[in-house]
């Protein structure tokens, strides 16, 4: 679709109506994962390894089974065998087999009539371990003599001779990297490290599963993707997917961490063993932090060549990431995003996915991109300092535009980076005066948009209102945005459209709400579905009028004769058509299924002002600005919320959050008191600017906006801290103790 075909005269799209889920959430009526209950329901507790790496010699469950009220105990022996590939990885992570691979790895689970009883019985499960050497740091894990997590785990991408914990290897780039560096006036190279961080969703994982001996089951679960829960649970337990019906609860945050399974299959396995009684599992915060997927930790070498005028001549990135004891660290995505903002004639990327004794990583908002940005955008800023160049001007000078070759290969389609940088430059925050120990940092960030498998249906109700059924759980306002787009297409008020997130039995397959896709993909499919219903309503009106369907057009919520030759009929409203639909051919509905294309990537640019206390090393954020291309903001308040939420998570990653392991590989901070995410009192209001460079691949110009916002804060804060107190932090988090040490080192 050409840009000028995009709808421009819009009545509902771009407005800020009340949130459809707002009242339920503030009154406690919304039902989350742990809110479900059923007759005969059992409660489960999971026995977890206290060791980072240990061979499981023996598991004795007899004492737990003997407790009155205990109805089932499961170990890996209760799971099917013979799985391969990612199915095996998922099963192994759900329940340890021969070895416990990280502190918190599940080794058994108990179901009992009360939660307390289940926990007490879990403590009676006796596990005999042979403790093995462990490794949790990526640079240690990649050494040739590191403890081997799993022999033979490398895929075909890994050349012979690489260390045993390297499970995936990649190189890509273009141009002549050495010639590019030779052309530069300044070449700099540094190493940057980021710690693993958790998505930090407020609602821990929770589910209730029920499975009979006939292989038919149901699940209620807090998830971003219930078809994934179904597919993965079915694979891990050897079930037929269609026999498992999965209903998503309201969700209290996911940020990527709820796109996969952890304990969900355990509830089904326990239920089956307990005679089909439903089994509820609610994780504690400590279990969430120890045993669900954080993002990867990273060690990154970056080298950039720059001319005196700021023109980039070459860039090289070599990233090492550990994503726990299984393959899947987002090193590829980190490399794709690291230099994506810049025109680079010569570029080289090298990546290693490395195993370590940590929990299996999961997706976390723009997986990999924040790490890549931290490395690349930090070094770029350091070079601007060295050459005395304005960092914003350098970014604008090298910024990619439509048609430019990306650093990862393909040419860019429609993008809005330069518009985003212009809007940043023109914002009042950029002129705010700064005092002693205060500094300003800027950085850019990039994330793709994903279409993915999508299935949506919509139906006209008898009173002329509309309902839309989607399969993407609403984690950031997608019900509101889909309702707005449907209302716009139908020409009826937003309040007359209800969007329901429905269970797996109600639609074809849907990928999760991931890849910034829900508003893009489910929204696009909802518009396609609505257009089908509109075509049918036009057909009904045409039949009523005795004219050809092609002579009828739809606007303002009614069928109209398309022109003077079509006849002189008064408009027939959606209510008039709907109330008679039972007599004119039956229900009116539409549906759309497909792998949706037309995605629109989103660039962002952030500016942060900080004050660093030279006595304590504490960084206080004075003001924070997010500018990002949304394509078109369907519900601007939700878009701003995504920008603000992403920035806050990035700020936490930059300043405070980290996984701290002791010398035995045990996580030392598995509670929010010690794993410190930012709270409202830590931050000023995050200022936002929505740039709108419409995506021609969407009927309303939508780009995915959910993920980009987490990317720039890491380097923007490092750049601001350098400008405030002169120290360059290359190792996250930039906690007070580290910043203070750097200041002291600088002062001698």
């Amino acid at each position: 679709m050409a840009k000028d075909d995009l709808s421009t005269h819009l009545k509902y799209v771009g407005t800020r109506p009340d949130r459809p889920d707002g009242l339920d959430k503030v009154t406690g009526r919304a039902r989350y994962g742990a809110d479900i209950a059923a007759a005969g329901m059992l409660h489960a507790a999971v026995v977890r390894s206290p060791h980072a790496h240990a061979r499981i010699i023996k598991i004795d469950t007899s004492k737990a089974e003997a407790v009155a009220g205990v109805k089932a105990v499961v170990t890996r022996a209760d799971f099917p065998t013979g799985l391969t590939g990612e199915d095996w990885n998922l099963q192994e992570n759900t329940m340890a087999g021969d070895k416990a691979l990280y502190d918190g790895h599940a080794v058994a689970a108990v179901a009992a009539t009360t939660s307390l009883l289940a926990k007490e019985a879990a403590e009676l499960v006796e596990v005999e371990y042979e403790i093995l050497p462990h490794v949790t740091d990526v640079d240690e894990a990649i050494k040739p003599d590191a403890p081997v997590i799993r022999e033979g785990a490398a895929d075909a991408s890994v050349p012979e001779g690489m260390p045993a914990n390297v499970v995936k290897y990649m190189e890509f780039g273009h141009g002549d990297i050495e010639a590019g560096f030779a052309e530069a006036d300044l070449v700099m190279e540094n190493t940057y490290k980021t710690e693993a961080t958790h998505q930090g969703y407020i609602e821990p994982q929770a589910c209730m599963g029920q499975l009979g001996k006939d292989g038919k089951g149901e699940m209620w679960v807090s998830t971003q993707g219930h078809w994934y829960i179904r597919k993965m649970s079915a694979a891990v337990l050897g079930l037929e997917a269609s026999q498992l019906r999965v209903t998503p609860s309201e969700i209290g945050g996911g940020f990527g961490g709820k796109t996969t399974i952890f304990m969900e299959p355990l509830s089904l396995a326990l239920s089956k063993k307990a005679g089909g009684r439903p089994v509820k599992i609610v994780m504690s915060r400590a279990e969430v932090l120890r045993a669900t997927g954080p993002t990867a930790s990273a060690s990154m070498d970056v080298k950039i060549g720059m001319k005196k005028d700021g023109t980039l001549t070459a860039a090289r990135a070599e990233f090492r990431m550990q994503g726990g004891a299984f393959p899947g660290a987002p090193v590829d995505m980190a490399l794709y995003c690291a230099f994506a903002a810049y025109k680079l004639p010569n570029v080289e990327h090298i990546g290693y996915d490395v195993l370590a004794n940590r929990p299996k990583c999961a997706a976390y908002r723009a997986p990999g991109s924040p790490m890549g940005a931290f490395a690349a955008e930090s070094l770029l800023d350091e070079m601007c300092h060295k050459l005395g160049l304005d960092p914003l001007e350098v970014r604008k000078k090298n910024a990619v535009r439509e048609g430019d070759k990306s650093s990862y290969g393909p040419k860019f389609g429609s993008i809005g980076l330069i518009e985003t940088l212009d809007a940043l430059e023109n914002h009042p925050n950029m002129q705010a005066p700064l005092g002693p120990n205060q500094g300003r940092g800027i950085a850019t960030g990039y994330w793709f948009n994903h279409g993915g498998e999508t299935s949506v249906s919509m139906a006209i109700s008898e009173d002329g209102t509309a309902q839309v059924s989607v399969g993407t759980p609403d984690i950031g306002g997608s019900r509101a945005s889909i309702a707005l787009m449907t209302a716009e297409a139908l020409g009826i008020p937003y309040e007359n459209v209800r969007v329901n997130v429905v269970e797996t039995g109600a639609l074809g397959v849907n990928e999760p709400t991931h890849g910034s896709r829900a508003t893009f993909a489910s929204g696009k499919a909802a518009v396609e579905s609505t257009n089908q219903a509109i075509a049918e309503m036009c057909r009904r009106a045409a039949a009523e009028w005795g004219i050809a369907p092609e002579a009828v057009e739809w606007r303002d919520g009614a069928a109209h004769p398309a022109g003077p030759n079509a006849g002189d009929f008064p408009p027939m409203s959606i209510q008039e058509i709907a109330v008679k639909m039972g007599e004119t051919g039956g229900p009116i509905s539409g549906h759309h299924e497909g792998n949706l294309d037309g995605v629109g990537a989103s660039f962002g640019a952030h500016a942060v002002d900080v004050e660093v206390d030279p006595e304590t090393g504490r960084t206080t954020i004075l003001r924070y600005l997010v500018v990002q291309d949304a394509g078109r903001a369907i519900h601007p308040a939700y878009v701003e919320g995504q920008y603000q939420g992403g920035a806050v998570q990035g700020i936490g990653w930059a300043l405070n959050e980290e996984y701290i392991y002791d010398d035995k590989g045990r996580l030392q901070n598995p509670v929010f008191l010690d794993y410190r995410i930012p709270v409202a009192s830590d931050l000023p209001m995050i200022d936002t600017v929505i740039v709108e460079v419409p995506n021609p691949g969407h009927p309303y110009g939508v780009r995915g906006v959910g993920e980009t916002g987490i990317t720039p804060p890491l380097p923007a804060l490092a750049n601001a801290i350098q400008n405030a107190v002169g120290v360059r932090m290359r190792d996250l988090p930039m906690s007070p103790v580290k910043v203070l040490a750097a200041i002291k080192a600088q002062n001698g």
Partner: protein, 81 residues
């Protein structure tokens, strides 16, 4: 014939080339052609990749038509959060 750009560490399976040509009119034929011409690519392609056509990353569109006019890149499988 379509030209396919591979990530550079795959060149050990393609006699050192990162741009290869195959006879294909769809994405599926392109992938099948790559595997037939360079069997070492099979496990990599089967494990899951993304295909970018004229700048747009596509997953799961094996039957999409392609021609010599398209810019085609094989990329690591895209993931999102």
């Amino acid at each position: 014939m379509v030209k396919v750009n591979l990530w550079s560490s795959l060149r050990r399976f393609t006699e050192g080339k990162t741009e290869v040509e195959v006879e294909a009119t769809t994405v599926k034929e392109m992938l099948d052609g790559l595997k037939a011409a360079h069997p070492g690519l099979g496990p990599i392609l089967d494990a899951g990749i993304s295909v970018a056509i004229d700048g747009e990353v596509l997953n799961g569109n094996l039957h999409k038509a392609i021609s010599s006019e398209n810019e085609i890149f094989i990329l690591q499988r895209m993931k999102g959060g």
